[in-house]
Amino acid sequence: MSPTLQSLPFFQDSYELRIAQLQEERKRGIKVIGTFCLYVPDEIIFASGADRIVLCGGRADTIPVAEQSLPRNICPLIKSSFGAVIDACCGGSLACPHIPLIDVVVAEATCDGKKKMYELLTDYLPTYVLDLPQKPGSPEAREYFLSEIRKFARFMEQLTGNIITDEALRREIRSSNATKRLLHRLFALRKSDPSPIRGSEVLRVMQKQFFLSPDMFRKGISLLCDELEHVVSSGNTGPRIMISGCPMAAGNTKVPDIIEQKGGVIVVEESCTGTRSFLDLVDEDVDPWKALAERYLEIPCACMTPNDQRIARIVELAKEYNVRGVVYYTLQFCHAYNIERLRVQKALKKEGIPLLAIESDYGESDTEQIGIRVEAFLEMIA
């Protein structure tokens, strides 16, 4: 067991303050944007003077509500998110505290499930959809995405009544790069063996990344890094594991918890609640719009094709963090990540790195079965 880290409660405490802050901002007429995906550039939202909070659902209890409208066989993240919205809008008791704070949802055309869910969402909340080229590698795709984010910026300007100046955008790019650099620092600390912090703890921190204001989040990460630099013996000596795959939205910590209860130590996550959110910085030295378009299309999400950078990056990260094995985590019915598994598996196999595939939902019924697989995997790589 690692010693209790003093800086971890900061994140939970700030979260409560944050909700109060957003309520207060709304009273002052500041617009609050709800988002569901890394592809929506925060920099543009902040540069327009608006604020934002993520709405991705990781809770199981809102799923039955969603299933009254959505098919059952879609990804639990989509169902959980949608359930939270309709529950909150219909005066339900499950109360996702974020929904009443939202003026507009800024959605994105990523996977089919989310895209079609957003259409239903418009009955409950005003929703703007950012389009994305699905084959992002070409100059034309970048051109197109550039026009999309400019359009989005105009939408934000109309919503807030503020003009987004290049200067404001540059400021926000610097701010988000600062956050990313801090996360680089945090993750670099995990490269030491044993890692000073467990992955299930880092995940709970990363889940707050898009809830807290950037200032608060950075403050928390700095405190955490300062503390971790002084951890002498963490006791996290089990086999080093990397997680790769679907996002784990707040409320969903099942698989990492199982892995670490069974003695594994997660040292890096290739996911939207891990490296995908911060690894690439936005170029501060070129035209800010172009830099944003470039950086955002580099996000290695399985919704895109081909997704070679993701495969290469997974192998790179596995080596860099010196992991013994990779747990490929997918949400049930997430076709993009489920199908991409085979390519990841093959690439890792070439490097002699074993992979365990776990597909799960938000329920508890498979906890035991996942435990059995994880134990066998840990024995195998020990």
């Binding site: 074993p354 498979d366 035991e368 079965q369 059995i372 697989r373 134990e375 066998a376 995997f377 024995e379 195998m380």
Partner: protein, 253 residues
């Protein structure tokens, strides 16, 4: 030194005693409701049958679904590791293991007795003994006869549902349409063999494959699986005990 391995499975509990690099003896019994009681019973039956005192046993290792409940065991190992050890003991040089039990099925890739990869199906009854159990019931034949029955068929019926519940109704409708029992049985055996073979191929198994678990006792099932994979399969004299055997071997230290 004598060691013991207990495999606390969801349906059956198996126990093996191991000494001087040989199997001293084994027992198999239904698990019933309580993993611990079933394991204690198996263990004391083993001790009694071979006139051994508890003190003569060095270590007891547990494996299987209920392994964490076996409080008298010194240590537990996962089924994957246990099967690999047990099967590699019986068939040195084995490269793949297909285990089809009552509740789950797994495919294990082995290299020099070590697990290098594995795949488990335990979420769904398709491709497990449960599939045979339910569909045999719908056919009104004892599960043990299903394999033999299938062998006399020369017009195999096509079973298209992988899902146990749907396959059960498919059997009923095939019966209503006048299909012969043996042809339906052959269809069922083929269906599960295909499902399991897909798992094995996905793991890249080619030859030197052992087939274990309760379902491996079924000769018709074994023949069908050999046909799907195109290679002969090694089946131990008692296919249900390889997990317990592996645990007992691990307990030798």
């Amino acid at each position: 030194m004598i060691s013991a391995g207990i495999d606390a499975g969801a349906a059956t509990t198996k126990g093996v005693l191991f000494r001087d690099n040989t199997i001293m003896g084994y027992r198999i019994a239904d698990t019933g409701f309580n993993f611990l009681t079933a394991s204690e019973t198996i263990f004391s039956i083993l001790l009694e049958s071979y006139s051994i005192r508890r003190e003569e046993i060095g270590h007891v290792y547990a494996t299987g679904y209920g392994r964490s409940s076996i409080s008298f065991a010194d240590k537990s190992v996962s089924e994957i590791t246990a099967h690999a050890k047990g099967v590699s003991f019986l068939f040195p040089g084995v490269q793949g293991i297909i285990d089809v039990g009552g509740q789950d099925s797994k495919v294990i890739v082995v290299e020099n007795g070590r697990v290098v990869d594995f795949l488990m199906n335990d979420k769904c009854a398709a491709g497990t003994g449960k599939f045979l159990e339910y569909t045999a019931k719908a056919l009104e034949v004892p599960i043990s006869d299903l394999g033999e029955l299938a062998r006399v068929s020369d017009h195999r019926a096509a079973i298209t549902s992988m899902c146990t519940v749907f396959a059960e109704s498919e059997v009923i409708s095939l019966r209503a349409r006048g299909f012969l029992k043996e042809d339906i049985a052959a269809g069922l055996i083929r269906s599960i063999a295909q499902r399991v073979a897909v798992m094995a191929k996905r793991m890249g198994l080619k030859e030197n494959i052992a087939f274990v678990g309760g379902v491996a006792k079924n000769a018709g099932m074994r023949a069908a699986l050999e046909k799907e994979l195109g290679v002969p399969l090694y089946v131990p004299f008692e296919p249900q005990i390889t997990g317990a055997l592996g645990a007992a071997i691990a307990a030798q230290g």
